[in-house]
């Protein structure tokens, strides 16, 4: 196995980036070996790549189930453990059950989706990362790894196809 090096190619916009990624495919790179960094969300198919997998919805659903169980415990479990009579209403009321269960289910759904986003993206993370600040100004960066020997070939192909710069990626403190 030869040494591989991580390069960061910066493109003007979505069209040049799509071109560049096609060239990288031609040079033999898999989609897994590339990562695209952009300032606004870009659909995978625009760049000719599959879209990323996210677990946020699944974590959210799990949270919704937790929330629903908590709501049911609040409205039915507690009066079962500590019953108190109030105003001619049954000990296990149905309308209050609907309300509290609904609220707690939604809280669980959204709270866990929020946490899921953190967990799935690895937030918060303050270690040095490969990044250039021009990305928030509209550039699109492609982070990829290629064999060390072929570095010059990759750089030439990308510059010719329209990349603004291709350089070894340095992890810097964000």
């Amino acid at each position: 196995m030869s040494q591989s090096i991580t390069l960061l190619a910066v493109f003007e916009g979505m069209e040049p980036a799509a071109e560049g990624i096609e060239k990288l495919h031609d040079l033999g790179l898999n989609d897994d070996e590339m990562n695209v960094i952009s300032g606004i969300p870009v659909k995978g198919s625009i760049l000719g790549r599959p879209s990323a997998i996210t677990y946020v919805s699944r974590i959210g659903m799990f949270g919704a189930i937790l929330g629903m169980s908590f709501g049911i415990f609040l409205i039915y479990g507690i009066p079962y453990l500590y019953p108190l009579l109030v105003g001619g209403q049954p000990i296990f009321p149905v309308p209050q059950g609907l309300i509290i269960t609904f609220e707690m289910t939604m809280l669980g759904l959204m709270g866990f989706a929020f946490i899921g986003m953190f967990v799935d993206s690895g937030f918060p993370s303050y270690t040095p990362k490969e990044y250039v600040s021009e990305i928030s100004d509209g550039k699109i960066a492609v982070l990829f790894s290629c064999p060390d020997n072929d570095q010059k070939k990759f750089v030439d192909v990308l510059i010719k196809s329209g990349a603004q710069s291709v350089a070894p990626a340095e992890a810097r403190q964000l």
């Binding site: 079962y80 453990l81 019953p83 108190l84 009579l85 109030v86 105003g87 001619g88 209403q89 049954p90 000990i91």
Partner: protein
């Protein structure tokens, strides 16, 4: 931790008849509106004096009030209705109970009255808004704080007349008529220690005791032979705001024509 699996079925539809344990009958034909019951209740239950300004603004804290209403106000036919003493009706389906967020207003299963738990109340006052009879009162200030001499210069001396059987409430807490539950408990304790039931007429509430015309009768309504049960079945009897379905424990005997 024990769980009582024998939970009573406690729903609105089942208890249309007047059940319960402690009740009251007020004869509006006899009531003279003398306010002796108001004074006696305030003394028995440590109801605070709120001062002239607050009383003028509707914050007086009497647990029982005598209502005077006018049937017609145009001369020469000016006519007043009978005096109407109103205190907590101890509703079986009390609207004040389900709305308290902290269970400070609950229903007593043994006495079948409505309990106000002073040390649990956080003062949201929803129970007072929901009471159709408006019998609940709130401690707006520290009326009973002996340091609060600005409100009432003689307050330190007045501490001597407090009834030791009844707690003194601090500010931020709701209170209302309890059917003199301290007297109920005292009588029940005495009866239990002697191994018997409480006899009718053994004790009575402060308002009934003070009324010079004996317009208020208090006692066991689950005993069909008690004085209060016999009075309650009179043809003149009715309940306040009966259409609301609160099933109150106080029967009013209509005044003379």
């Amino acid at each position: 931790m024990t769980t009582n699996l024998e939970l009573p079925v406690f729903t609105n539809s089942s208890e249309e008849e007047l059940g319960g344990k402690w009740g009251m009958v007020i004869d509006q034909d006899i009531c003279t509106g003398c306010q002796a019951c108001v004074a006696a209740c305030s003394m028995e239950n440590n109801v605070p004096f709120v001062g002239e300004e607050d009383a003028g603004y509707g914050r007086s804290m009497h647990w029982i009030r005598i209502e005077r209403l006018w049937d017609s106000t145009s001369f020469p036919g000016i006519k007043m209705t009978s005096y109407q003493p109103v205190m907590c009706q101890q509703c079986h389906n009390a609207p004040c109970e389900p709305v308290c967020p902290v269970y400070a207003s609950v229903h007593s299963m043994s006495e079948d009255t409505n309990l106000q738990v002073y040390n649990r109340c956080v003062g949201t006052r929803y129970c007072a808004n929901n009471c159709p009879y408006q019998v609940r009162v709130f401690n707006w200030r520290d009326y009973t704080d002996a340091r609060n001499t600005k409100l009432n210069p003689g307050l330190a001396v007045l501490q001597n007349q407090l009834n030791p059987d009844v707690t003194v409430r601090r500010r931020g807490v709701m209170e209302k008529c309890t059917f003199c539950i301290q007297r109920i408990h005292k009588a029940e304790d005495k009866a239990k220690s002697e191994g018997r039931e409480v006899q009718d007429g053994e004790f009575t509430s402060a308002c009934a005791q003070a009324c010079p015309a004996s317009a208020i009768t208090f006692g066991r309504i689950d005993d069909p032979n008690s004085e209060v049960s016999l009075a309650a079945v009179a043809q003149r009897g009715s309940h306040l705001l009966e259409e609301l379905g609160t099933l109150p424990r106080v029967t009013y005997l209509a005044g003379g024509v």
